[in-house]
Amino acid sequence: MSKKKSSSSVRKLSPAGHRWNVASRTVLAVAGGYAIAAMATASLSLALPLPRAQAVMAATLFSFALYCALIIWAYSAGTARRAWFVSALLAALPAGHLAMRWATT
């Protein structure tokens, strides 16, 4: 019933390896997910083409759905490495935007 990934990069983990895997994904999910959602909220609040208060509302309303999706991604990705990699890519967008704004003010 489990869909085994046919990718050769996936190998069976030792018990210790498994625990590190879970720990790594958990840190990513809980802390990384929140960080990305937080940055995205701030970034969207500034970037959305809406009156300021509405942009903040829209971004904040959406943030929990984003956080939830990130948590699910952290555990669903084929490998922990892929989970981190994709999350880093996703983080780059709002982080970059916020960094640019901070640098130019």
Partner: protein, 530 residues
């Protein structure tokens, strides 16, 4: 984690996100469901008020009573008797007194005679309501963060649960009793799927109600931390009518309120909920009538108002609430559905049932966790962790209602003049819960379930019996009076007593007996009596 399919990974996530704070989530669901009936519970916990019946003339009689009690007040607030409480609750603020939510002086009046009624010191339904999102005995902010984190985990549990439930449509109406673990799975699935819109809505809206605390980064980012600016920009609410300047206030008699109320009742299907009089006895007096219920969720279930000059009766213009933008509208819909301030009896019961199903869903999930591991435990022996979870299951799932029952009993039994009475009612709640925890760990698992469910059944069933015997006539008198608030509570107590008794009955034999009662434990125990 590596090598698991999407569904399997989410199955793992669902188990852990549900289990880690499951007992807290159950408590949040239970107190939340009860909070839909917070006003009714508070009324039930004031038994000396139960004889009150609403009278058509209640508005005028209340105003006359206010005239006698507080003629020089700056504001009278009169909450008329209604389907949630048959008494008239009045509050007033003296001249110069700041109008805060809990300030001023308040009195409860009989719905017919407008005579003051006795109020016993009790937190009533508000204890359960506050517990729901602020727990108890800890700093408010910390508690809200804990509840917020639990709510996020609930959201993850819901989404991962839907992802992992492969046969969600095919199994929609499926329940297979007497099949051990399979039956518990069916129960858990049914409770989750059949009320899935409710569970999702209540969870996401719970997050939204805490969103400025949990996710303030939008406000901080766009407003440089100036939250006041955000709230006033977003509010676009017409300014609340400021009190008229007290310079040239000419004394003037207040007009009769009855014709105004009648005019409002012709317009509003559920009648008038509240009358507020500002500066009574002056020419500047303003009478505001507020509608019971509301027309739409988009403006946060805001009810309509009618304003009149108190001396002349001339209608005044009610401040028009500005139409909310799309995103505020979304927030309004979610938050009004969660708080349910506007709802009538039918919708209130529907949501209460949703909350009960949600509580049972969480409980059945935790029982399922134990039941699933029984075969493995029989082979490999139990760990301390298993015993801990078993004990927490009984105390968490059956013990919490027992504690609530103890809270209600304390309300009835503690002397009215007792010092710190309200605190002692709450102490009874926590003492009972602690006792259940100790009991759950000392007793064999199945016996612990049977005994706590049995105690629960007795506690709940005897409450209406106590009321019957102790003046006021309890349930029977309420039914003859047509007083449905107190009667409804008594009937609900009896219903849950019956439910608990059914749980005990389903657990009656020690052989493998399957049960569809989520609150009952461990089917498929197959001779194992831990």
């Amino acid at each position: 984690m590596n090598g698991l399919g999407f569904r399997q990974a989410n199955s793992w996530l669902h188990t852990w996100s549900g289990l880690l704070l499951g007992w807290l989530l159950y408590a949040i669901f239970v107190t939340g469901a009860l909070s839909f009936f917070r006003d009714e519970i508070s009324f039930w916990m004031q038994p000396t008020q139960h004889a009150s019946v609403a009278h058509a003339d209640a508005p005028q009689r209340a105003v006359d009573a206010m005239q006698a009690m507080a003629p020089d007040a700056s504001l009278w607030s009169i909450t008329l008797p209604g389907p949630r409480n048959p008494t008239t609750q009045v509050r007033w603020f003296e001249q110069g007194e700041r109008r805060s939510k809990f300030g001023g002086q308040s009195v409860v009046l009989d719905g017919t005679t407008a005579q003051p009624l006795q109020v016993r010191e009790s937190r009533g339904g508000d204890f359960l309501y506050r517990f729901h999102f602020e727990l108890y005995g800890m700093p408010r902010l910390a508690a809200r963060w804990i509840v917020g984190i639990a709510t996020m985990m609930m959201l993850v549990a819901i989404i991962s649960g839907v992802i992992t439930h492969k046969k969600i449509f095919v199994d929609f109406f499926t329940f297979r009793p007497r099949k051990g673990q399979r039956s518990w799975m069916d129960v858990h699935n049914a409770l989750a799927v059949l009320a899935l819109p409710f569970h999702f809505m209540i969870t996401y809206s719970g997050l939204l109600l805490l969103m400025f605390m949990l996710m303030p980064w939008g406000v901080d980012g766009a407003y440089g931390g100036d939250r006041q600016a955000f709230f006033s920009e977003r509010g676009n609410r017409a300014a609340a009518s400021a009190p008229a300047p007290s310079t040239d206030k000419v004394p003037a008699d207040l007009i009769a309120v009855t014709p105004l109320v009648r005019q409002a009742q012709a317009m509003w299907p559920s009648g008038v909920e509240q009358i507020t009089v500002t500066d009574p006895g002056t020419s500047h007096a303003v009478i505001e009538l507020r509608e019971r219920g509301a027309g739409s969720l988009l403006d946060r279930g805001r009810s309509e108002r009618l304003l009149f000059n108190g001396a002349s009766g001339a209608p005044l213009e009610s401040p028009d609430a500005a139409k909310p933008d799309a995103f505020s509208a979304i927030y309004n819909v979610f938050s009004s559905l969660h708080l349910l301030r506007f709802a009538d009896t039918w919708l209130r019961w529907l949501f209460f049932i949703g909350g009960v199903l949600g509580s049972a869903m969480v409980a059945s999930g935790m029982v399922l966790w134990v039941v699933k591991r029984l075969p493995q435990r029989r082979k490999q022996g139990s760990h301390l962790g298993h015993r801990v979870v078993e004990g927490l299951n009984v105390a968490g799932i059956a013990g919490l209602p027992v504690a609530i029952g103890a809270y209600f009993w304390a309300n009835r039994l503690l002397p009215v003049s007792m010092q710190a009475r309200a605190d002692w009612e709450i102490k009874a709640f926590f003492l009972a819960w602690a006792a259940c925890l100790v009991h759950a760990w000392l007793r064999p698992h199945r016996k612990a379930w049977k005994e706590q469910l049995g105690i629960l059944s007795l506690l709940l069933a005897l409450l209406p019996a106590y009321d019957l015997l102790h003046g006021g006539g309890g349930l029977l008198a309420a039914l003859t009076r047509g007083s449905w608030v107190a009667a409804g509570m008594d009937i609900t107590l009896l219903a849950f007593a019956a439910l608990s008794a059914a749980g005990v009955w389903f657990l009656r034999s020690d052989r493998a007996k399957t049960s569809k009662r989520p609150a009952a434990a461990s089917e498929g125990m197959e001779g194992v009596s831990p």
